[in-house]
Every structure is written in structure tokens, then in C-alpha cells.
Subunit: 199 residues, 2 copies
């Protein structure tokens, strides 16, 4: 044990160390960055954490994170409410929004069904999605991750909402743009062959 | 510009994005981590930032960061005050402490002289070091970085304190343990040859 042990500093390093993808050295670097801030900046940083935590909650319609009653997409008049894109995580919404190609709404599940991980259908926002399929919705695009859990979740939801008269689709599988065929795994290649389209 | 723009979330992401080594995607990941914390944990995290900033200041003797009047090393009775190891940054103290081989005290410069970067001798804690060399100090080990700035700082300080009857040494240069000779740069190899020792 080193003689140099400053409690307030260790506590700060520990906080950063708990964050995903931050090791001990990075945590130290971030802690020293914080110490180098002006008092106003440090308070601003702490305040952003408290405020985000206090103000951000789930949108009443799509369950995405928002600081209003509805999220900016659900409350926008320009989005097509007849199409719902179902994703696992708010970051997936951001990824799809970045394409600029999608004009429908979203539904954020906040997870995927995983019997091994102890996540049941009740733990994610499936019932909120089913409630939205009240006749006004024409298509639901399943954009859960291409993992075992994401697939199972897509299948489960599909079976629930198809009887409600909703058309259910799934994102296309295939070779990622810019990737090299040589390095594609067999399953992806098989799916790409299955999904081939006439030129 | 995406329709999905939540102010409290963007502010939090921005705060993380300003930190060293954190890009936009990592900042998003950290922000979602914070949102996933319990209220108590999030407040603890914010509090650690404010507290660290409020409580931590420079040790009156060695200028290292501490939350007391003196740092734990300067106030420890077990350290040899006759030897001072001069470093640029508090993290360098931590690195040397981890060796467990050094029993003297430190002096933290908080930078290195850099005419290009606008850092003059007055900007770092050189006068505090000179004040310590009052006859009780026998040896000063210059452990500034092996960069142009670190070298220049070591030379500058050495010229100031040698006349005060202090023996001044410099950390050894050479091949890092575990590295491969093949990949060592020429300057390091030259220094390693110059510093060779009889077996």
C-alpha cells in the first residue's frame, strides 16, 4: 500500500472506474481532468449528472428517454405514426435517426428477452407496444439486435401483434457496407445469400 | 439534425465528450450508464466531483495534491526528507510509489518549462523547490519526463540548486524492461550504451 492516499481523489477515481470501458489509468486521467477544471466547470459537470438523472424518464408513448412528457419524435407532427420501429435501446434510435432515412416512430424495449439473463417479457416494454397496436398502426419494423436474444424477442413480439392486424417486418441481414467478404462469418453470408435481390 | 434531441441528455453527453480520450460514442455510453444508476449512485457520482474539487489542493511542502494541509507523504514520519524526487505531475508520484522502492519525498512541478507552450519557470513550482533546499536536503533526483521540455526543466533546476550544496541526479535512461531491442529508437539505444554498467 502506497503512502500517497488522498480520500477525495480515490473516491473520484473509483467513480470513474465503475463506468463502462474505463480502466484504472483512464479513471485517474479523468479524475485529474476534473481537478483541473474551474470551480464553475466542475459544478456544471456534477450538475449535468444530477439534472440528467432527475429530468430524464421514459416517453409515455414509445418508452424512449426524454425530459418532456413525450419524446421529441412522438410529439413531432412530421413523423408517421402508422409505422413503429422497435429497438432494444435508446442508442439504437440515435443510430437509425443518423441515417436520416426513417420517418416513422419508434418503440424502445429497454432490453431483450433472455431466459439465461433472467429477462422475461414482462421486464421489457412489450405490453406498451401491444397497447399501441390499436388499429392506427400499419407496420411494425423489428430492429432488435441480430443476436439470439434479439431474434427471440422479435419472434415473440411478432406472434403477439400479427393477430392485431399489423404487418411485421425485420431489418435485412447481409454483408455490412464497406466490409470485406473474406472476413464475413458463415451465418451472415448465408443470410446475405438468402436475402439476395435481383439487380 | 435529428428530431431526437433531449437537452438534459445532450448536456451530459457534452460533459463527457470534453474529457480526455472520450469520443462521442464513449460519451454516449457513459451518459447512458449514468442514467441507469440509482438516484443515490448518481448523486454520489456528482458529489465525488464537487467534493474532490473543493477539498483537493496543493501540499504546502511538496505541491502534490492532497485534501489535508500536508500530503500523506510529507506528513508521514517514515519518509526520508533529505531526498527529494522532482516530478512534473501528481501521476508520476503514483507511478514511483507503485515501485515501492523509494523512501524519500517528492516535489511536484505541475508542468515543465516550455517556451513554445508559454510555460515559464514562474508558472511551475520551482521557487517552492528552491525554498526547500535550505541545507536539510542532500539529494534531489530529477524525474521529469525524458522529453525536450522535461530535460530543459531538469537542467534549469539543476543550475539553480547545485550552488545551494545539493547533489542533483537524473533518472537513468535505457531500454525499458521487457521491451525488444529491435524496436528501441536510436536515441534511447544511444543513451543505453552511454549508461552501460559492468556486470
Amino acid at each position: 500500500m502506497s503512502d500517497y492516499n488522498v480520500a477525495a481523489l480515490s473516491r473520484l477515481v473509483e467513480q470513474f472506474e465503475r463506468m463502462p470501458g474505463i480502466g484504472h489509468k483512464s479513471a485517474q486521467r479523468l479524475a485529474f481532468y476534473v481537478l483541473g477544471l474551474s470551480e464553475k466547470e466542475a459544478n456544471g459537470c456534477a450538475d449535468a449528472i444530477v439534472q440528467a438523472h432527475e429530468k430524464i424518464h421514459r416517453c409515455k408513448i414509445c418508452c424512449n428517454l426524454t425530459d418532456g412528457e413525450l419524446c421529441p419524435i412522438c410529439s413531432s407532427g412530421r413523423r408517421d405514426g402508422q409505422i413503429i420501429c422497435v429497438v432494444e435501446d435508446p442508442r439504437d434510435v440515435m443510430a437509425i435517426e443518423r441515417t436520416g432515412e426513417y420517418n416513422g416512430t419508434y418503440h424502445v424495449l429497454h432490453g431483450a428477452i433472455s431466459p439465461m439473463g433472467g429477462v422475461t417479457p414482462e421486464d421489457i416494454t412489450i405490453k406498451e407496444l401491444v397497447r399501441r397496436c390499436d388499429g392506427s398502426v400499419q407496420e411494425v419494423i423489428m430492429a432488435t439486435n441480430p443476436t439470439v436474444e434479439g431474434e427471440a424477442t422479435a419472434m415473440y413480439i411478432s406472434r403477439l401483434i400479427k393477430p392485431l392486424g399489423v404487418s411485421v417486418s425485420r431489418l435485412a441481414y447481409g454483408i455490412p457496407v464497406g466490409a470485406e467478404l473474406e472476413y464475413a462469418d458463415e451465418i451472415t453470408l448465408t443470410r446475405a445469400l438468402e436475402g439476395r435481390r435481383l439487380l
